[in-house]
Amino acid sequence: MDFDFISKTFVRLLAALPLTLSVWFFSVVLGALIAAGVTWMRVSGRKPLELFARAYVAVFRGTPLLIQLFVVYYGLASLPAVRASVAWPFLRDSFNCAVLSLALCTAGYQTEIFRGAFLAVPHGQVEAARACGMSRLLMFRRIMFPIALRHALPAYSTEMISMVKSTALVSLITLWDVMSVALKIRNDTLVTYLPLILAGAIYFVVNYIIGAGFLALERRLSPHLRPRPS
């Protein structure tokens, strides 16, 4: 075992972790915003909006993220109309393309999570809120959102972890994330297993921390479901 090589590899991989995490963070936040919009369309009760939302979810969940990423990064950049548009300074950067593409994809999955969570709000609670004379906004803020949030958390934490794993794909559009640094080290040193195992360990620990964080949040938000202290 060459400990010097191990520690050097590990340090180089860790140096790429901020990029992986920022792709993850920005795409998850942007994805949640898009999902909020699409969820609203999905439950709006207006046919065209609802149809659009259904199609959005089906398309982004029914095709591989890799090809979506390539449509955005290689595809859009090849169109003269896009190169001439105001969006070009934004889209020419591979980081922005990665965030946009991952956000569009996770929005499809998050929409279904949000929709399921809102459908699970007991009807009686909504009726009671109306009977008290709450406005729609107040009812959303005080009744629907808090209950839906608790329903959504388990599935949401799975989606967050799945997004960390998805960020590895940005290595294929020239970004230096943990995955691509591991591949570069493997290429340069011809050591097969070690760089990939160390990179895997980093991803695993990140996912573990996110999973544990969501579990703690879930526990904190549902004190009423815990057994009473005797």
Partner: protein
Amino acid sequence: MGDLAIFGFGPGGWGLALLQGAAMTLLVSACGLLIGAAIGGLVAWARLSGRLLAGGVGQAYAALFRGLPELLIVYFVYFGTSTLLTETAHALGHEGFVGVPSFAAGALAVGVISGAYQAEVFRAAYLAISRGELEAAVSVGMNRALLFRRIIAPQVLRFALPGLGNLWQVALKDSSLISVTGLTELMRISQVGAGSTHRPFAFYLGGAALYFVMTLATTRFFDLAEARATRGMRRATS
């Protein structure tokens, strides 16, 4: 050439190549799903066995392969098996690099990932079998093989079908990652077409459309299979 002519079947058209790529995608995903079923069945059995060591190994497998990026697993399986094979060949006196066929490595990678998820599906399906039926089978004197074949397997398959349908979609989408090993499946063909015609937008969009059609069509197939498998069961609704 016109926008649609590049997807045609005439000279210079990529229609046939894309369809062949799609067929390769279906084939490698199906093999991956089957390998995953074997792994998932073993892991589920290990976790249900009640033995501490086997249960621990099963749980570790599921946790590990669900916590690692799919792309990393694809690279690890591809480079890992090739290195292993090359070193074995060297030990036997063979010179040079020996690569694992990318189809085999790809199907194995998809299977290894799918297996971790299928284990959970199978375990939940087994736990959904009513205990009374298992007791009844034992009390009429069925041996373990017969019990498995007549009582457990048919019901596990029935209960696992919806979950397997989802995992089939996941396998289909994960198979696009195998393109990094050079296997000429749909993703790879789209890349080749995009590169040689300088029309990335059309090719990636076309590839995505084919993936979408495959997901829709096969989902319909799984829905039909589910309807058939549950035709003898009473529904809670209607």
